[in-house]
Amino acid sequence: MNKDPIITLENITVDFPVKGGIPFLPKKRLQAVSDVSFSVFPGETFGIVGESGCGKSTLANTMLGIVKPSVGEVTFKGKKLFDLSRKEFKSIRRDMQMIFQDPYSSLNPRFTVFQVIAEPMIISKSATEEEMVERVGELLELVGLSKDDMHRHPSDFSGGQQQRIAIARSIILNPDFLVCDEPVAALDVSVHAQILNLLQDIQERMDITYVLISHNLAMVKNICDRIVVMYLGKVMESGRSEHIFDHAKHPYTHALLSAVLDTNVEEERELVVLKGDIPSPIDPPKGCRFYQRCPYAMQGCRTIPVPQVEIDSGHHVACHYVNGFPEGDKPEDYDKRIEQAHEEANV
């Protein structure tokens, strides 16, 4: 891939002031995303995986210029997103769209389907009334609904159909870049496949770059070309799909993979059940953010910051256990260490 990236994030840190606290003292800050960098290339599907509170939605909002990062730079098609004037920003926003998790709350209940889907066109003043009607009809058919549904209201549709309407709205301005924030999490299992197939279909037809956000690794597996795994605002592991699924190194990725429930009853899988809950992102530890729940946590993990180390071309892991501490202590073979840890646990 030697094309220019469509969007680049450099050292993005987003933090929010926390309400309350002691008056006159500096407010505590919640660090939702901390020092995240990556690029997304045209035509690919990029996955962001993590549990709630890991900062994946904040990151999505930053990519679209909704949330301003406290540190770092977002470059979309060669332009720095947060240096643009209001007017420039408005015109560039047409090329980037978003699909939200809950279709019902993202559609205005008082609008008809036509109004919902045509709204981006009305705002951008790019078409006449007849053109809009025609375009909305086309899109409704593309997403598997019928033209006549245009005059009904969102509440007349089931969850899956509502999500189809939301998809139609997001692609009406022919965007190049689409962020899907948990597009199927609020829907029934049997509808998941329909929506994901539709998204893939649209990508092929319209050549859109996707960023797909999810908590389910199995869902992401066959759609995404590259994946980042996040935990508490930090990237734990990133790489191409096969890196993450066949050669996962980070203990957190292992835990996530093992938490994916399968319908295979034949095979007894080894379950990695993490202890404890996701800690609060206020005052995170200096070292590895995962150390409290990590089964292989070592003394230094708490205090020594973890660098991203490239262990294979394009495969980055941030873990002391895999890479060894920065000074002294040479990195050993990961599998050997796991074996050792298991033996120690058995003794």
Binding site: V189, V191, A193, A218, K221, A255, I278
Partner: protein, 331 residues
């Protein structure tokens, strides 16, 4: 043979409304043996939650009209139990775990007090004893520092912890039957793994029967012994876990199983069930699944198939069951 924990025959629940009648549950039979985990699987709107609530008689009537031919629980006929009689059963012999812990718990009472309430109500205990039992109950479900957690209000705990508080409440009196309605849907994946693990260990070690209501077949694979698949108010397939996962017979079960994304999948497409669940007021004629079924014939459009046994381990409601031995399929 021992008496089953639950034996229910022909449960029907109807919600009359201004615009028509919603037949939420249409003749559902459920048997749960002692110490068995039975799963009730279906999409939203298929009547699975209504079924589990009617077992506990939690469906208000009016507006609903409930009728059941037989309802035996722990050897007793509870079909005609009054509200006050049911109150003695609920919590003590039959308990429920709800989906959303934040809504199930009272936000202005500490978690400990809410658990202690069960002991005070069903056992002859004073407050001190109840408090001690509460801490024990919390410890049982794997809550760290149970004594101080008991003093917390629900909003002070994380989602996983709240769900454990509900587990503690359900297991407090060691009931015969626990009804778990989507116990892990609102949790994160790694927390879901923890809670499911806990639930399975408790269920097995205390020999409690469990009815697990869920839309996610993958949750079932780790827990259940027997699975009922429900569609539009009717049971469409009833089978042992192994049978269902290896040789599902009903096209709907096959569709549900295929739509779970798997890590072992190699292809990039997703297998899908076309169409959507029928509206409960406008159910199609004949087999309710026929508009979405690839194998539907004329017969399917006219007649509802009966739930018939295929072998010892499974029953299916379909005119043309799949995955059959060749000779049988020809007939």
């Amino acid at each position: 043979m021992e008496e089953p924990t639950l034996r229910m025959r022909k449960l029907k629940v109807i919600f009359p409304s201004g615009r028509g009648i919603i037949r939420a549950v249409e003749g559902v039979d459920i048997d749960i043996e002692k110490g068995e985990c039975v799963a009730l699987v279906g999409e939203s709107g298929c009547g699975k939650s209504v079924t589990s609530r009617s077992i506990m008689k939690l469906i208000d009537s009016p507006p609903a009209l409930t009728r059941v031919d037989e309802l035996y629980f722990g050897g007793k006929d509870i079909k005609d139990f009054s509200e006050s009689e049911m109150r003695k059963v609920r919590g003590k012999e039959m308990a429920m775990i709800f989906q959303d812990a934040m809504e199930a718990l009272n936000p202005v009472i500490t978690c400990g007090k809410q658990i202690a309430e069960i002991f005070l109500r069903h056992h002859d205990m004073d407050k001190k004893e109840a408090r001690r039992e509460t801490v024990k109950a919390l410890e049982l479900v794997g809550v760290p520092e149970p004594a101080s957690r008991a003093k917390n209000y629900p909003h002070e705990l994380s989602g996983g912890m709240r769900q454990r508080v509900l587990l503690a409440m359900a297991f407090a009196c060691m009931p015969k039957l626990i009804l778990a309605d989507e116990p892990t849907t609102s949790l994160d994946v790694t927390i879901q793994a923890q809670v499911l693990n806990e639930l399975r260990n408790l269920q097995k070690s205390h020999d409690v029967s469990l009815l697990l209501v869920t839309h996610d077949l993958s949750v079932v694979s780790n827990l259940a012994d027997k699975v009922y698949v429900m569609y539009s108010g009717k049971i469409v397939e009833k089978a042992s876990l192994r049978q269902l996962f290896e040789k599902p017979h009903h096209p709907y079960s096959i569709g549900l199983l295929n739509s779970v994304p798997k890590l072992s999948d190699e292809e990039s497409g997703f297998e899908q069930i076309p169409g959507t669940v029928p509206h409960p007021m406008r159910k199609p004629e004949g087999c309710y699944f026929h508009p979405r079924c690839n194998h539907a014939t004329e017969k399917c459009k006219k007649e509802m198939p009966p739930l018939s046994a295929i072998n010892d381990e499974s029953e299916v409601r379909c005119w043309h069951p799949r995955n059959m031995e060749r000779e049988e399929a020809m007939t």
